[in-house]
Amino acid sequence: MGDSIEKVSIIISKGSLEGIYPGLIMANGARAEGIEANLFFTFFGMEAVLKKRQDHIKVATVGNPGMHMASVVGALPGMSAIATHMMESKMDKLDIPGIPEFVEMISDTGCGLYACLASVQLFGFTKDDFVEQVQDIITVGDFYAKAAGGEIIFT
C-alpha cells in the first residue's frame, strides 16, 4: 500500500456546470476512499461557492465542441438554459446532487473548502458573499502550504 494516494488538493477554476462537477466529484470520491482532500476555488470556479450564484450554474453551449452544436446555435438566447435543464434532469435521475447540496455534503465529509484571495480581490467579493462551507480566503502561498505532501489537481 506504499504507493497509494493519501492526500489531494483540487483546484476548480471554471464556472460552467461541466467545469465544476468533475472537481467536486473527485473531492467527494477522495474522501469516500479515506483520502484527505482540499478544494480551492479560483476565478470563475468561485461560482460554485458564491451564495447568489451556486444555484444558477449553466452548461457552456458556446465554444464547447463536446456539445456537438455549432457555436452560432449555442449562442441563441436560451440555449444554455435548455442544455443545462436537460443535463440537470439527467443528473437528478441518476441521483447526482445539485451544486449547493453537493458542496454542503463535501464539506460534511471533512474536505477543506477555500477561495483564492487574488480572485476575490479581482472580483470585489468579501467572505460574506460565500457559502458558510468556505472556511477561508487564502493566498497562493497558503494553498501550497495546505497542499504540501499531496497531489495537486487543476481543473
Binding site: I25, N28, G29, R31, A32, E33, G34, D95, I96, P97, F102, M105, D108, T109, G110
Partner: protein, 105 residues
C-alpha cells in the same frame, strides 16, 4: 485472494480485504474486521450503519454509497465520517462482509 480465520471460521478475502462470500459473515467477524480497521469497540451507531449496509446489499445487490447512507441510514454524512474516518461506505462494507459499493458519488 487470501484465506483468513475470522471468528473461528476460514473465509476468503479479496485483494482489497472484502469478504468474498457475504453469506459467511457473522457478527463476531464484524468485530474482528473492525479491529483491523482500527475501530474498537463497534458502537451502536457503527452497528446501525453496518446492518444497514447488509440490508441494502441483500435487497439491491450493491451496498450504498456515502451519499445514499447519509440520506437513508439515519446517520448524517458528518457522523458517518466520525464513525468511519477512512471512508464510511468502503470501511463499513468491509466490516459488514459485503463487496465494496460501486458508484462515483
Amino acid at each position: 485472494m487470501t484465506t483468513q480465520t475470522l471468528a473461528g471460521v476460514d473465509v476468503e478475502l479479496n485483494e482489497e480485504g472484502f469478504l468474498v462470500k457475504p453469506e459467511q459473515w457473522t457478527e463476531g467477524m464484524a468485530v474482528e474486521l473492525a479491529r483491523k480497521e482500527g475501530i474498537d469497540p463497534l458502537t451502536d451507531r457503527h452497528w446501525q450503519v453496518v446492518r444497514f449496509m447488509r440490508d441494502e446489499y441483500f435487497a439491491k445487490g450493491t451496498g450504498p454509497t456515502v451519499r445514499v447512507l447519509g440520506k437513508t441510514s439515519g446517520v448524517t454524512v458528518k457522523e458517518l465520517y466520525e464513525l468511519f474516518p477512512k471512508g464510511p461506505a468502503k470501511i463499513a462494507a468491509r466490516i459488514a462482509g459485503i463487496p465494496k459499493p460501486k458508484g462515483c458519488i
